[in-house]
Every structure is written in C-alpha cells, then in structure tokens.
Symmetry: C2
Subunit: 206 residues, 2 copies
C-alpha cells in the first residue's frame, strides 16, 4: 500500500486528531509540514494539488485527497473499535463530531490560535471585537460537554473511547492556551486524564 501522507501544521488540534487516531490504531503516517502563519496553505500549488479550500489537515492516500480533520479520522478508524458498531451510537458519535466543528472549534480553537500563536497585539480590530462572543460560545460548549460527561459513563458515547472523544479532546485539553479555565469543569478534567491513559496515546507536541 502507498504510504498515508498527512499534510499538516503540527500545532493544529485538527491535525493532532488525525495523528492521535492513527497512533491509537497503530497506523504510520508520512508527515508534511506547512506553516499556516506564513500562508503556505494558500499558495497556488497547494490550492491546485492538495486542497482548493486552502486548509490543512489533508490526508492523502495515493492520489486521493481527504480534507476535513473529522472525516480523515473517520477514514482511518473505519472498521475499527473507535467507531461504534451500534447504529444509534455511531450516529451519536458523529453528533459530537459535528458539535465539535460547529460549537467548539470556531470558539475554543480560534481563541487559542489568536492568543497563543498570532498574539493579541497582532489581532485585527474585527478579531478583537469577536473575542467576547467566542469566549461565551466556548464556555457554553464546555458546559454542554461537562453536563454530558457528568451524567454519562465516562466517554462521549457510552463507556469506551470513540472518535467523538478524540475529536473533542484535541482542542479541549489545550483550551487553557485560549484562556479557558478547565478547573471549572471537573468531569471534563477527569475525561482528559482518562484519554491520556489510552494505550498508544501521543501528545500534541509528539
């Protein structure tokens, strides 16, 4: 089989989701790094050959290109225990993955990127004006997660790890870099500790 190539930016939680999924499954990835702060995913070559949407991550299998972090994680995990066999549980896993991209990532990942990577002084006026809304949206998403974990069986879908946990973990466990206080969310903190104990776990910096 041709090597599986990950076009990525290591610090991105979206890219880390794919690396963590592969690590938990024992799948090797051939990694290609792009510096998004220098616009390396907006070059004509990247747009023509990797992703017309100008974003990483993209998972490449031969000449097939798969953008979108949660879809790429799904491809890696398809047929594995990281995707529940039960029909409702499988859809419920996707429910949390769509929640992650709609309610969580645009708030928590964006604030982390702005505050820890771009730097507050370098933000535009429009970005600065958007901070309070993203702060409130991120805390609302964390509150939904906290309630679900507090009332549940330890993971987002039942009592075992699935892609829902991996995709939500990626930006949640570094939410402090975006100014969120995880100490206010004890069930989330217990869940983070459980993910770190998963066999094969790697850190975002690995």
């Amino acid at each position: 089989m041709a090597p599986i190539i990950l076009h990525e930016y290591t610090n991105s939680g979206n890219c880390y989701k794919i690396r963590l999924t592969a690590a938990l499954l024992g799948i090797a990835l051939d990694r290609r790094e792009y510096d998004i702060l220098k616009g390396e995913t907006r070059t004509p070559g990247f747009l023509a050959n990797v992703n017309a949407n100008g974003r990483i991550p993209v998972l490449q299998m031969g000449d097939q290109m798969l953008p979108e972090s949660n879809a790429a994680s799904f491809w890696l995990a398809d047929g594995s225990p990281l995707i529940p066999a039960d029909r409702f549980d499988r859809a419920d896993m996707l429910r949390w993955m769509f929640f992650e991209q709609y309610n969580h990532e645009p708030n928590i990942a964006t604030l982390r990127f702005w505050l820890a990577f771009v730097g507050e002084d370098a933000l535009t006026e429009a970005q600065r004006a958007a901070i309070p809304g993203k702060r409130a949206g991120g805390d609302a998403a964390l509150a939904v997660m906290e309630k679900h974990l507090r009332d549940g069986q330890g993971y987002f879908v039942g009592d075992r790890i699935s892609l829902a946990d991996i995709c939500l973990y990626a930006y949640t466990h570094v939410a402090d870099e975006g100014g969120f206080d995880l100490g206010a969310y004890p069930a989330i903190s217990r869940w983070i500790a459980a993910i770190k104990r998963a066999p094969g776990y790697i850190a975002i910096t690995d």
Copy 2:
C-alpha cells in the same frame, strides 16, 4: 417500532435536511414544531428533555435523542444507498458534511436567517458588523463547491446522490434569501436542478 419524531423549525435548512433524507428513503416522521424566534428551544423543559444545547433539529427514536442535523441524517440513511459503500467515498461524503457545518452553514444560513427572518433593521450592531465577513465566507464556500462540481461527475461524491448533496443542498438552494447570487455559479445551478428531480424529493416548505 416507535414513531420517529423530528423536533424542528420548518424554515430551518438544518431541519429540512432530515425531512429530505427521510422523504428520499420513504421514512415517515412525526413532526413537532418550535418557534426559534420566540426562544422555544431555550426553555427549561426543552433544555432538560430534548437538547441541552438548546437547538433544533433533534431526531427522537423512543427515548434516544439525536441532535445535529448531519448526524440525524446519517442515522436515517445508515445502510441505504445515500451512504457510499466504498471506504474512501464514505469518508469523502463526511468531508463535505463537515465542510457544510464549518464553511457553509455559519455564513450562508446565518445571513439567510438574519436578512430573511430576523430582518436587517432588527440586527444588533455586532451582527451588522459581521455581515461582510459572512458574505465573503459564503461566496468562498460556494466557489469551492462550484469548482468541485464543475470538475466532477455531477454530485459531490461521484455520479450519484449521497448525504453530502442533501446536506449542502439545504441552504444552498435558498442562498438567494441570504443575498447570494446563484446565477454566478452555473455548476451549482445544474446540481440544484438535478437534486429537484430526485425521486421522492420534497420542497423546504413541504
């Protein structure tokens, strides 16, 4: 089997995705309407019993609740020809569904809601300031779709309809209500016409 209940707001494209998926598959839904303009999905009863995230749609099967439009559509279509059997195609379908929730819906659906339902005069200052960014983001998403359809085989994944088409169609075909000019996107316009010819098709107003 218990009836499948759709908690919804008819005008929402997110709810329409689920109705259209069900219609194409010949599945009956028991519909419950909530007026989101009156806050009916933020009441204590709704938050406690239907969705702690305060949003519609939610698909209910017995006592199982499934929020997130794309996940609910996946549950309905699981095992049907609306989800490709090929591993890459299945992940590629999800790729477009995640693109829809991240790049498309927050721009195109939000502008439609603000301009056609809330009304421009009733918008807050922050909403008004966000219009240009959402206009540019929506046109960028439509441009990615246009290129993909122009270079492809008629649908988002290969040459037949899948959930990717249904989920992208829901807000694209009414994008003019958000001030987008679909006349500038001929491949999208041909694809919209093809979706309308699908056996079992229903309109968003049905």
